[in-house]
């Protein structure tokens, strides 16, 4: 390699000089204790309570409550709703992030604000919007009734409410990432003769895959846990339109604490699995993630 002649001299920092970022021991200890205390008090303790309550009467009782057909149906419904809502928001999030990060168009700032709307509006309002849109007294109501289309108090309503509430997650994760990466990779691919689809598949998607994955995991966690909006459109029909969070509430209100907490553990476990998955992926691919952020 005749052309290579770069060696970086490394300056050895003097040991005598105190590093600018070093704190005193006390300051460091205090910070750690405060942070840990907060995590234990507000995160670990409640989580532990959920598990302790669920197993209060032993594992047998825990297992029986979960085998209850209504509870079983709630778990199934939650998974179905998430399985529809998350892919929809995956597609929407990529499309919106692409449009915002890579194109200049009128109303871009407005669209960016609009994407945040579900975060700033109370979930209950989000649910009510769909009641007003599709309810019996709405403009669409008679039409839906005539053709026997059930949206409210049925799976479509639950999916719509969930999509609405969770749609910022993927887009939010991707927009800054795509803006930072710019368009030159795509332009390079196009200039080499790649079609739009090839460019997306071979260049854009690999560049954003980690951001996309985080977005999807967060979106999924929220889709399974959503309560407010779903509660408004569900109608609380037992064994039919109750998702897990709604089922927890019903059981709790019936003073069936063990069952309520048992369902809650399943919900918490799903969240934990998501977290573990994310961490595992981060560990496994840390080099690649670092490389895709750098450059």
């Amino acid at each position: 390699m005749a052309l290579d002649s770069s060696s970086v001299p490394t300056a050895a920092p003097s040991k005598l000089v105190k590093a600018a970022t070093s704190e005193t021991r006390i300051a460091r200890l205090t910070l750690i204790v405060v942070a840990l205390g907060f995590v234990v008090l507000f995160l670990l303790l409640p989580l532990a309570t959920v598990f302790i309550e669920a197993f209060r009467n032993g594992p047998v009782e825990f297992a029986t409550t979960l085998r209850d057909p209504e509870t079983f149906s709630a778990i199934r419904l939650t998974l179905i709703v998430a399985a529809i809502a998350v892919p929809l928001n995956l597609v929407f999030g990529v499309a919106a992030a692409w449009a915002i990060a890579k194109f200049e168009f009128k109303g871009k700032a407005f669209l960016t604000t609009l994407i945040d709307l579900p975060f700033s509006v109370s979930p209950v309002i989000s649910g009510l919007v769909f009641v007003l849109l599709f309810g019996a007294n709405s403009a669409l109501g008679p039409f839906l009734q005539k053709y026997g289309i059930h949206i409210l108090f049925a799976v479509p309503g639950l999916v719509l409410a969930t999509v609405f509430v969770t749609f910022p997650f993927v887009a939010r994760e991707l927009i800054p990432l795509m803006q930072e990466q710019g368009t030159s990779d795509e332009e390079a691919a196009l200039s080499l003769g790649a079609t739009g689809w090839q460019t997306f598949w071979h260049v854009t998607l690999p560049n954003i895959k980690w951001g996309l994955l985080y977005g999807v995991l967060l979106c999924n966690a929220r889709a399974m846990g959503e309560f407010g909006a779903v509660s408004v459109v569900s109608g609380h029909i037992r064994g039919q339109t109750n998702t897990m969070p709604l089922q927890v509430e019903i059981l709790y209100n019936e003073y069936n604490f063990v069952a309520a907490f048992a369902v809650a553990t399943v919900l918490a476990l799903l969240a934990l699995v998501t977290l573990v998955l994310k961490t595992a992926l981060e560990l496994r691919y840390s080099d690649e993630i670092a490389a895709s952020r750098r450059h």
């Binding site: 770069s6 332009e187 390079a188 691919a189 003769g193 690999p206 450059h295």
Partner: protein, 369 residues
């Protein structure tokens, strides 16, 4: 392939980044677009590539009108300012990309793609690094991968945007020579953008000097340096002095003294005199010359640079002398006369004639004696 740019205009919003630009690029030549930042070099390059579409005008590839063709159809090679390598692909995959994405009817077999990519990596002196990722390469190595990737599709024209802009001075110089070699070996028609005049003059067959969205001059490095056609080129390329003078009956005057230069057949009036620091001769007795007090003296390699004060009303003037000539002067007062110079007419009433079609400043006389 020959590329002809005809009357191209490009507006961003209402702002014209390029205004009525025409340029003929000959087949196989290495041509530089040179100009200060913001002069429209990148825009012109992107228009040729098809990454941008012109507001007005036409671009021909050979005899074909390429203006309506997409970037894919134009089959160009583009090297981006920051390389734009695909970071999740190895060096080999980066270089093969253009061949791999071809429709199956035009795609060479996998073994052939691999062989061609490896050949190119050898050409750019990166053999053995084909399994690396871009993040594991130095700046100069990335630059060469980007070039190999662009050449892999056998482009009609190779377009490079500030190819050495992000590298340190040492690597820059080496790569510059190396790019010239590659060009001579492969013969691709090549356009490269730079704001570094040394780079343009050393490397290119022809140089296109741009300013404010227009082409000021096109010519060989010698023509550009020795015969600048406008005050801008005179000032932008190399060192130059400029003095406000007046013309009277064919003679050039600095304030109330003739300076010993004649410009016959020119109407009287104000003008600007341009000359280079090394195009001067020292004069002993001053019967018509420029004379000034030495305010600074610097030794630069093989020459001595003197800074002269010609009087309050004028900017200081720099001249270059062989060191022995400089020491034989009395060090305080120097009399000299430009040997090569050029007059540009002051455009007193530019405002009244807003369009600059008639050359920005009319040329008066070519050279002195």
């Amino acid at each position: 392939m020959e590329v002809r740019v005809q009357n191209i205009r490009k507006e961003f919003g209402r702002f014209p980044a390029l205004d009525d630009v025409s340029l003929d690029i000959r087949s196989g030549e290495l041509i530089a677009l040179l100009g200060p930042s913001g002069s429209g070099k990148t825009t012109l390059l992107r228009l040729i590539a098809g990454l941008e579409s012109p507001t007005d005008g036409t671009i021909f590839f050979g005899a074909e009108d390429a203006s309506r063709k997409s970037v894919q159809q134009r089959n160009i090679g583009f090297v981006f300012q920051h390389y734009a390598l695909f970071r999740h692909m190895t060096v080999l995959d980066n270089v093969s990309f253009g061949l791999k994405v071809r429709p199956s009817s035009r795609r060479p077999p996998a073994a052939e793609i691999r062989r061609r990519a490896l050949d190119l990596l050898e050409l750019v002196q990166l053999s053995g690094l084909e399994k690396r990722y871009p993040a594991q390469l130095s700046g100069g190595q990335r630059q060469r991968v980007a070039l190999a990737r662009a050449m892999a599709v056998e482009p009609n024209v190779l377009l490079l945007d500030e190819p050495f802009g992000a590298l340190d001075a040492q690597v820059r110089k080496e790569l510059r020579r190396w790019l010239r070699e590659i060009h001579d070996r492969t013969g691709h028609t090549t356009v490269f953008v730079t704001h570094d005049q040394e780079e343009a003059l050393e490397l290119a067959d022809r140089v296109v000097v741009m300013s404010k969205g227009a082409i000021e001059q096109v010519g060989t490095p010698d023509e550009i340096y020795d015969q600048p056609v406008s005050p801008f080129v005179y000032g932008f390329i190399g060192q130059s002095n400029c003095l406000n003078v007046t013309l009277s009956r064919g003679e050039i005057w600095l304030e109330d003294r003739p300076i010993g230069l004649r410009a016959a057949n020119e109407p009287d009036g104000a003008a600007t005199l341009y000359f280079r620091p090394h195009d001067i001769e020292l004069i002993d007795g001053c019967g018509g010359c420029l004379a000034g007090l030495v305010t600074a003296s610097r030794r630069v390699a093989g020459t001595r640079h003197l800074e002269l004060d010609l009087g309050k009303a004028h900017p200081s003037v720099e001249i270059e002398l062989p060191p022995e000539r400089a020491s034989s002067t009395d060090h305080t007062r120097v009399a000299f006369r430009p040997t090569k110079w050029k007059l540009f007419r002051k455009d007193g009433d530019v405002a009244a004639a807003p369009q600059l079609v008639e050359a920005p400043a009319s040329e008066l006389a070519r050279t002195g004696t």
